[in-house]
């Protein structure tokens, strides 16, 4: 099911939570809404589900305008952040709920409902736990019950709100892989909300990066990571370092020194240079960014050092091999292998 969101706006007591958002989601796609808290990503998800009414704008399911439809009419599978399992029902009853409440003429017979619920429990690898109550399950198991329950109604689209938010790192990784498998097997159009960029990059076909009620960038994980459209996206996705630079004559300057990087298309003036700390090469002194080590710490297999550039208060972070001899006050020169330039704000 294609989903199209058109000029969507949502205000909560005059405060805009979502500002003129448009987005097209392709059928069968696994898409992540990624952003810091307060960016409007959950609001967008709830608007698509019909749990909130838009202040303005339209939502299309295929060619049908669903904006005015209730959550029941939209037939979406929604997995809540805290799972919202029915605590007085056992696992099987939870999964069967969506089928049991159907009007008589579309409701399958009891034995069929049971068969389908058990089948779904098998799909989410919870066979044998059908008589348990939600309180008797671990977080990861609850998560899977919630997913089975949402799938039971054969939804047109699957919406997940921070699906792995409440789980510990280990379970989170396993479930991530497993969700991808389920998605590939069932082929549902799936939208999930997350603030964890690693999760989004690993899991999604496409990312929607949001901030302050607006979409900053939409694209594949590769394109969002490698060619961020603006400083926010660069800073939010992956590790980043930023340095204010001057552009003159197609060259970049820091504190009156050319740093050996070119920007043929940039007009003369101030700009922000963005690069990834791990994507640098150390060079001998010369036309490069140079600074003294101000602090260093071990990050995984590398050493991350903070460099003070040009004696000014500007600091950037770069990664060094962990056996690099640099200590406090060592002077280091480097060049980013890949970088992006954004005109300075204002």
């Amino acid at each position: 099911m294609d989903i199209r969101v058109q000029n969507l706006r949502k205000e909560f007591s005059r405060y805009p939570a979502l500002n003129d958002v448009s987005l097209a989601i392709k059928s069968g796609e696994l898409i992540a809404l990624l952003g810091p808290s307060g960016s409007g990503k959950t609001t967008l998800l709830r608007l698509i589900a019909g749990l909130e009414r838009p202040t303005d704008g339209h939502i299309f399911f295929g060619d049908e305008d669903a904006s005015g439809k209730s959550v029941q009419e939209r037939n979406v599978g929604f997995v809540f952040q805290s799972y919202a399992l029915f605590r007085h029902m056992n696992v099987l009853e939870n999964v069967a709920f969506g089928l049991k409440v159907r009007p008589r003429d579309t409701r399958p017979p009891g034995s069929e409902i049971r068969r389908r619920a058990l089948e779904l429990l098998d799909l989410v690898q919870l066979s044998g736990l059908d008589r348990r109550f939600p309180q008797q399950l671990s977080g990861g198991q609850r998560q899977r019950v919630a997913l089975a329950r949402a799938l039971a109604i054969e939804p047109r689209v699957l919406l997940l709100d921070e699906p792995f938010g409440a789980l510990d790192a280990q379970v989170r990784k396993e479930l991530r892989k497993w969700l991808r498998e389920i998605h590939d097997r069932t082929g549902h159009t799936t939208v999930f909300v997350t603030h964890d960029q690693e999760e989004a990059l690993e899991l999604a076909d496409r990312l929607v990066v949001m901030s302050q009620g607006k979409i900053e960038q939409v694209g594949s994980p590769d394109s969002v990571y490698d060619t961020p459209d603006n400083p926010f996206v660069f800073g939010f996705i992956g590790e980043s370092s930023a340095l204010p630079v001057e552009v003159d004559n197609g060259e970049l300057w820091v504190g009156g020194r050319a740093i050996g990087l070119t920007a043929p298309d940039m007009p003369r003036g101030h700009a922000q240079l963005f690069f990834r700390p791990h994507d640098v090469e150390l060079v001998p002194e010369g036309a490069a960014i140079a600074g003294v080590v101000a602090a260093s710490r071990r990050v995984g297999g590398t050493r991350r050092v903070e460099l003070e550039i040009g004696g000014a208060a500007q600091r950037v972070e770069i990664d060094l091999p962990f056996d690099h001899p640099a200590g406090e006050k060592t002077r280091i020169a480097f060049k980013p292998k890949r970088y992006r330039l954004y005109p300075a704000a204002g």
């Binding site: 929604f78 029915f86 007085h88 409440v101 109550f133 977080g139 109604i153």
Partner: protein, 301 residues
């Protein structure tokens, strides 16, 4: 939600069980403190609760079983029992509905004047029952503005059953709502939203999700409401007019017998009232035993 995992993390099956007295927790007291406190509590309960209860039953039976039973077969006594049951049968279901509605509105919605409504619900708790009774006398009595209309419609409220029912509803109103509001607030609206997203309509959501989630709180509220409705004295006393055999409820009848030095009769009636309360208590305990697992599961949240 995360509590379950934490429990698992703390529990380690390989660790041998500790002998009960092997070490003392920082929060536990020496044995003599513990037993002194328990002793005081038990003595206090025995003196103030059990002893009076025993007295009621011994006094009731002091003149033999014949006199005891006569108190209930006496026309005025039988009428008092019938009236109390009637009033309770009207007031409790109404307050059940009102209470659920009020709690629902307060717990699940945001609206202007919500805190004022919450305060209103507490009024019957803070106002003396005698005053509640007087309010209805002033509102519907012979000198009120409403009286001519009521008289024309042949509606007798004060010194009649409708007045007693009204006063009882007023006094017992907060029990159900007060019990449900914190419970429903705590549960939030996530499960309702989940039910709606799965295609359930509003009615199905209420019956299959909301109501089962609050049933224990609701039952508890209803039991309290029921006990109070049967035992209410002050408000009913003012509005009933004490018409023997007509507007005397059980508590009023007990007072009447007591004042006329018919102690055996008074205590016989009192023992019946106490028995009704005990039955309520036993019913509650039995339900807790029967559905103990589910109850514990609900409480864990």
């Amino acid at each position: 939600m995360a509590r379950f995992e934490q429990d698992v993390a703390v529990y380690d099956s390989r660790r041998p069980d500790e002998p009960p007295d092997a070490h003392s927790r920082p929060t536990s007291e020496p044995a003599w403190v513990k037993w002194t406190l328990i002793g005081i509590a038990v003595l206090f309960l025995a003196a103030l609760l059990l002893l009076p209860l025993l007295t009621v039953f011994t006094q009731a039976l002091s003149k033999g079983i014949g006199t005891f039973l006569a108190a209930f077969t006496d026309p005025a006594g039988a009428a008092a029992i019938r009236l109390t049951l009637l009033v309770t049968a009207i007031a409790v279901p109404l307050n059940l509905v009102f209470g659920v509605c009020a709690a629902w509105a307060i717990a699940k919605y945001e609206f202007w004047g919500k805190s004022f409504l919450t305060t209103l619900i507490d009024i019957p708790f803070s106002v003396s029952p005698v005053i509640s009774g007087m309010i209805y006398v002033i509102l519907f009595g012979a000198n009120s503005v409403l009286y001519p209309y009521l008289h024309d419609a042949h509606l007798q409220i004060v010194f009649a059953v409708p007045g007693i029912v009204l006063a009882t509803i007023f006094v017992t109103f907060p029990f159900v709502a007060r019990e449900l509001i914190p419970l429903m607030q705590d549960q939030g609206t996530a499960e309702e939203e989940a039910a709606l997203s799965l295609g359930a309509n509003g009615w199905q959501t209420f019956w299959r999700v909301t109501l089962p989630n609050i049933r224990w709180g609701l039952l508890y509220g209803v039991l309290l409401c029921n006990a109070r409705a049967m035992g209410e004295f002050g408000a009913v006393s003012v509005i009933s007019g004490h018409i023997r055999g007509k507007t005397n409820t059980m508590p009023l009848h007990i007072e009447l017998l007591f004042d006329s030095y018919n102690f055996a009769g008074a205590f016989a009636m009192a023992s019946l009232l106490a028995l009704l309360a005990l039955v309520t208590l036993v019913a509650k305990t039995l339900l807790e035993l029967r559905y103990g697992d589910e109850l514990a599961a609900t409480r864990r949240h």
